[in-house]
């Protein structure tokens, strides 16, 4: 067939499905335009409001699309590069929620630290768009571009507070290592392309299911390199080293964003590539994910115990949580995937809530645990909220964290990986020690003067309240989120 003779037909575009990203990118651009064009200085709340509205709209659009998908089934658009399925919309909603929360948190932070508000918010929205792209990508290059958009935005967000040397340091570390790992990811894409003939995931899946290779080396090496790139993004050990330093050095709202959205997007990519596309090779990749999970769990919990800086503790704990999600991923079945998704959603709110409070309590001289001493007395409500999100991370029942942990354990048990499940529970205990240390510091203080008593702006208050409310509500009545995550198992469709 002659390509020349063929008239060019542009691929069909499902614009409706693209609205969440368009809204986010549009809002980011509009925000920048308005602030730079406006004759007078635009008030700070404008950026916050734009982010909040854009995030909310994203969530609403995501839910509307969700109901469409439920009625009409999943689809793909843009020549099969963009998947519209429960999975992508689950993450759209997740990212939207996190965006609203972080946007609100950023309001107080920007005010306090005197940063460039509009740029901050614009980057936040752009990063969110990138995250949604990662979760929706049916094509490895699209996924890579989404990942880069998210990462580059994050480098800048971290470095924005350029006066703080920690921020610069962590931005540099994240950038260099991020670029390094991106190269691995890209190389992996290249090898998979060579092995399957396309960067399209649906194509790859079909091709792999239909063919038996004589030499699988290329494909397997590609899978390994993809795994490296994504394991780095989700901060799974031994690719986690950047995470504690970067989390600690980054502004608290950005840390919250990284721990939630960046991590979730990494997992979304991992699940889409490995579970959905390379499902037929699960014998090869599940053991390595299980291994990563084990190492990650141990490193995350053990290292967290040694810390004295609350932010750093939470950073290590975040590594540990990645291990739990990997527990669901390594099951390589619908239940495990759903469990991982549930975990991510639940964790998103917990971790944003945590870093919101860390942000309130922290100051330029760090986040030493002693700052939280006596908080139970001086700031009882805040202390209670912190307790709830911390206990949720420890996996105490009646919080979303427990239901999440329960499901990933169930996933591991479902594939008869009892050893890993047992290890996960053991590290949960080690982790719990760390959470309890913070709780103890808040409620049992030897001095009565207490730590700082910063004011809580209402934007932050909403986020904390929302996070706590969500954590408890899902902990008590998790069915809807279970259902949501069960319907969100990825589906790969070839483009028309």
């Amino acid at each position: 067939m002659s390509v020349v003779a063929q008239a060019f037909t542009a691929p069909s575009v499902d614009w409706w499905a693209l609205t969440p990203q368009m809204v986010l990118l549009g809002a980011a651009l509009a925000l920048l335009l308005v602030t730079s064009m406006s004759p007078r200085s635009v008030p700070r709340w404008f950026g916050t409001a734009t982010t909040a509205v854009a995030g909310t709209v994203t969530v609403v659009l995501g839910l509307m699309l969700w109901s469409d998908v439920r009625e009409q089934g999943p689809s793909s658009t843009l020549a099969g590069a963009f998947g519209v399925d429960g999975f992508s919309l689950f993450f759209t909603v997740l990212v939207g929620v996190a965006l609203v929360a972080v946007g609100l948190l950023a309001h107080a932070y920007i005010e306090r630290e005197g940063l460039d508000g509009p740029e901050f918010h614009a980057l936040l929205m752009a990063a969110s768009a990138g995250a949604i792209v990662m979760a929706s990508a049916n094509d490895l290059i699209v996924l890579f571009l989404g990942l880069e958009s998210l990462s580059i935005a994050l480098y800048v967000l971290i470095a924005m507070h350029a006066r703080r040397s920690e921020a610069r340091e962590s931005a540099m570390k994240y950038f260099v290592l991020g670029a390094f790992s991106s190269a691995f990811l890209l190389y992996g894409i290249a090898l998979v392309y060579g092995a399957t003939g396309s960067t399209n995931l649906a194509h790859a899946r079909d091709y792999l299911e239909q063919h038996l290779f004589e030499s699988e080396q290329l494909l397997l090496a590609g899978m390994a390199l993809l795994m490296v790139g994504l394991a780095f993004k989700v901060a799974a050990a031994p690719f986690h080293f950047w995470a504690p330093d970067v989390y600690q050095g980054a502004p608290s709202p950005v840390t919250g964003y990284m721990a939630s959205v960046a991590k979730a997007a990494g997992f979304a990519a991992l699940l889409r590539i490995f579970f959905a596309a390379f499902g037929s090779y699960d014998v090869q990749w599940t053991p390595i994910v299980a291994g990563l999970a084990a190492v990650t769990l141990v490193v995350g919990s053990v290292m967290a115990v040694l810390q004295n800086d609350v932010k750093r503790m939470l950073a290590f704990s975040s590594i540990g949580h990645a291990g739990y999600v990997l527990l669901g991923v390594q099951a390589a079945n619908d239940e495990g995937t759903a469990a991982a998704l549930f975990y991510l959603f639940a964790y998103t709110l917990m971790v944003i809530g945590s870093f919101a409070i860390v942000g309130i309590m922290g100051w330029s001289d760090g986040h030493d645990i002693s700052r939280y001493g006596g908080m139970g007395r001086t700031r009882p409500k805040l202390a209670f909220a912190f307790t709830v999100v911390l206990l949720a991370q420890a996996g105490v029942p009646l919080t979303s964290g427990f239901v999440a942990k329960f499901q990933v354990i169930a996933a591991a048990v479902g594939v008869e990986n009892y050893l890993l499940a047992g290890l996960a529970m053991f590290t949960a205990v080690i982790g719990a020690f760390m959470y309890l240390r913070i709780v103890m510091a808040m409620y049992v203080s030897d001095t009565d003067d207490g730590g700082p008593t910063p004011t809580v702006t209402w934007t932050t208050g909403i986020v904390v309240l929302g996070a706590v409310g969500f954590t408890v509500a899902v902990g008590v009545l998790p069915q809807w989120l279970v259902e949501f995550s069960r319907d969100a198992v990825p589906v790969l469709l070839l483009g028309s």
């Binding site: 390094f180 397997l220 390994a224 390199l225 490296v228 690719f239 080293f241 330093d245 115990v305 040694l306």
Partner: protein, 624 residues
């Protein structure tokens, strides 16, 4: 009339509750009178029930069971809160309530002026209640209720003057030692239940015999129980110390009633005792009798002498049981209750009169100053020394005869009994002479005086009983063996003496002779001073052959050290392991912590290593 049996323990219980609530308000002496009334009422009720029992056909099953309610009904276990009235329990009941009432009365005088007067009667009534539960319980568990109850009351009463460390320690020691016996009781109960399927006396008695091993095991466990409560070797150690309690307590709890419950238990369970076990019981009894008598020889404390004497006499009773002569045991138990109660109360009167002086070396010549006490004490002495026709003679004689007839080692048992009788006569004479005769040796400022009537009246009554107590079972004429005929139906294997009259008389004469030798020797030493007393009170015996001291040293030395070592192990090893896990986690963390160096390039190498590892893993997965 038999239906009133519930009233027997109920009255003291009522007294206990009333005194517990209002005792302090009632004050002295009304609290004492209330308690005494409760006890007397109980005695009255016992008499009524006794009459009722006599009304039953003597040849039939002369027993009456009253069940109040189901106590522990689970599965196939059915334990009732019920009473059994038969000849044995009513005999016990009569003297327990009888002697108990007298001691209550006596206590009103003895405890006069004590700030915790009413409390004392609270305990006394509770004790009486427990003792009656023990006696009248229709199954092992109810008896055990009483068994432990008397133990607890004994603890309260011994440590009644608890500010004295020695009293507190003695109380604790009594309880704990008794608990060793209780262990035997419980395990015996378990074994009986699992073997026979019942814990009720009548059903146990009706059950076929157990397998020999089981039966012996049960018997020996019961012996452990009885030895604990009745202060037999080696569990006797608590009884001498128990003299720390007020003297009425010593009389009632540690002479007349509680300590005999071991004897009661063995007699009650006579149907399960095997021959092998009986031999052991006899040996234990004989050994205890001799051992305690030897110890009594060298004591200086007026009550300690009586305490060892009690142990010794209890040994007699065990010897009787071991020889199969249950009646003799019960007979001696009754007479012993009379004369030993008398002696204790007498000693209490002396102590009271001497302002709490208990050392016999600081007494002497009290006969004139305390005539009633002196006279009644002498009656008790004669009774215990086995002087005919005092009650002690008859019961002791019967035991010696039973020992003689023991088929295996009867002569040895008899000989031990005889030596014990001699010693008994000796040390009791020594006591009497030291206290009531000879020189005045008391300290300045002590003005001995006779006690009040509430104290002397019981003395007189008990003296009367000690003199005439033998009548309940005179061996002279078969028809006069009231007790034996009365008790006969409850025995699975009634004991009958086989010796001819000549043997009986010879043995009795020898026994009396031994008593006379003992008394005579004591007269020479302690009254006339013809023989030096220097070497007659060896320290070895004064310290009771160091048995107790050895126990104490083991418990205080290696025992405590072992306990402490266990506790230390708990803190260091067991708990240390727990903290060790935390420590290990921390160490492991410190070990891997350097990897988190903060250096960008180190992190990159982590990624690189991970990447190479992953690639190697994946590439080696190639399906070969």
């Amino acid at each position: 009339m038999l239906e009133l049996v519930w009233l027997i323990p109920a009255l003291p219980l009522l007294g206990f509750v009333a005194l517990l609530i209002g005792g302090r308000r009632l004050g002295e002496p009304r609290a004492g009178w209330l308690a005494t009334a409760a006890s007397a009422g109980s005695f009255g009720a016992t008499l009524v029930v006794f009459a009722g029992l006599l009304g039953l056909d003597a040849h039939g099953d002369r027993a009456f069971t009253q069940v109040l309610f189901e106590w522990l009904p689970v599965g196939s276990l059915e334990v009732e809160a019920g009473f059994l009235v038969d000849s044995l329990s009513i005999t016990m009941g009569l003297f327990v309530t009888g002697v108990g009432t007298l001691i209550h009365l006596y206590s009103i005088g003895y405890m006069h002026g004590d700030p915790r007067f009413s409390k004392f009667f609270v305990y006394l009534n509770l004790f009486l209640f427990s003792m009656l539960m023990l006696v009248f319980g229709n199954n092992l568990v109810v008896t055990f209720l009483g068994w432990e109850g008397v133990g607890a009351c004994s603890y309260f009463l011994i440590s009644f003057w608890h500010t004295r460390d020695s009293a507190a320690t003695a109380g604790k020691k009594a309880f704990v030692t008794n608990r060793v016996g209780d262990w035997g009781f419980m395990v015996a109960t378990f074994l009986i239940w699992t073997t026979l399927g019942t814990v009720t006396y009548t059903e146990i008695a009706a059950s076929p015999a157990m397998a020999a091993t089981t039966g012996t095991a049960v018997s020996l466990l019961l012996l452990v129980a009885a030895a604990g409560k009745s202060a037999q070797l080696p569990l006797y150690v608590w009884l001498p110390d128990a003299m720390e309690g007020p003297t009425p307590v010593s009389a009632m709890v540690h002479a007349a009633t509680m300590v005999t419950s071991g004897v009661y238990l063995l007699v009650r369970m006579n149907s399960v005792l095997t021959d092998d076990a009986l031999l052991v019981i006899a040996i234990v009894g004989a050994a205890t009798a001799l051992f305690a008598a030897l110890c009594a020889v060298a004591q200086h404390d007026i009550k300690k002498v009586l305490a060892y004497s009690t142990v010794s006499q209890l040994g007699y009773m065990f010897l009787a049981i071991g020889s199969g002569a249950y009646v003799a045991a019960i007979f001696h138990m009754v007479t012993h209750a009379f004369f030993k109660g008398l002696l204790f109360l007498g000693s209490g009167s002396v102590i009271h009169g001497m302002h709490d002086e208990q050392d016999m070396r600081k007494m002497g010549a009290l006969r004139a100053l305390m005539p009633i006490t002196g006279l009644t004490f002498i009656v008790g002495w004669l009774a215990i020394a086995g002087v005919p026709p005092f009650s002690g003679f008859w019961s002791k004689d019967e035991i010696l005869l039973a020992a003689w007839e023991q088929p295996d080692i009867g002569w040895l048992l008899w000989l031990v009994g005889l030596v014990t009788a001699l010693l008994t006569a000796y040390y009791m004479s020594r006591q009497v002479f030291l206290v009531f005769f000879g020189q005045q040796r008391w300290d300045d400022g002590v003005h001995p005086h006779e006690s009040s009537w509430t104290m002397t009246l019981p003395l007189v009554l008990l003296a009367g009983a000690s003199i005439a107590g033998g009548v309940i079972n005179l061996p002279l004429v078969s028809d006069w063996l009231f007790l034996e005929h009365f008790l006969e139906p409850i025995f699975a294997h009634p004991h009958h003496f086989t010796s001819g009259t000549a043997t009986k008389v010879t043995l009795a004469v020898i026994a009396v002779g031994a008593g006379a030798v003992g008394i005579g020797f004591a007269v020479m030493v302690w009254l006339k001073g013809r023989v030096s007393s220097e070497r007659l009170e060896p320290t070895f015996l004064e310290n009771a052959m160091y048995v107790d001291a050895t126990f104490a040293r083991v418990a205080g030395g290696p025992g405590t050290r072992a306990f402490q070592a266990t506790a230390d192990t708990d803190a260091t090893v067991v708990d240390g392991a727990v903290n060790g896990v935390g420590w290990l986690v921390q160490r492991f963390g410190e070990l891997i912590r350097p990897a988190q160096s903060g250096l960008l390039r180190n992190y990159a190498i982590g990624v690189a290593i991970g990447a190479v590892g992953l690639i190697v893993w994946f590439v080696t997965r190639v399906a070969m």
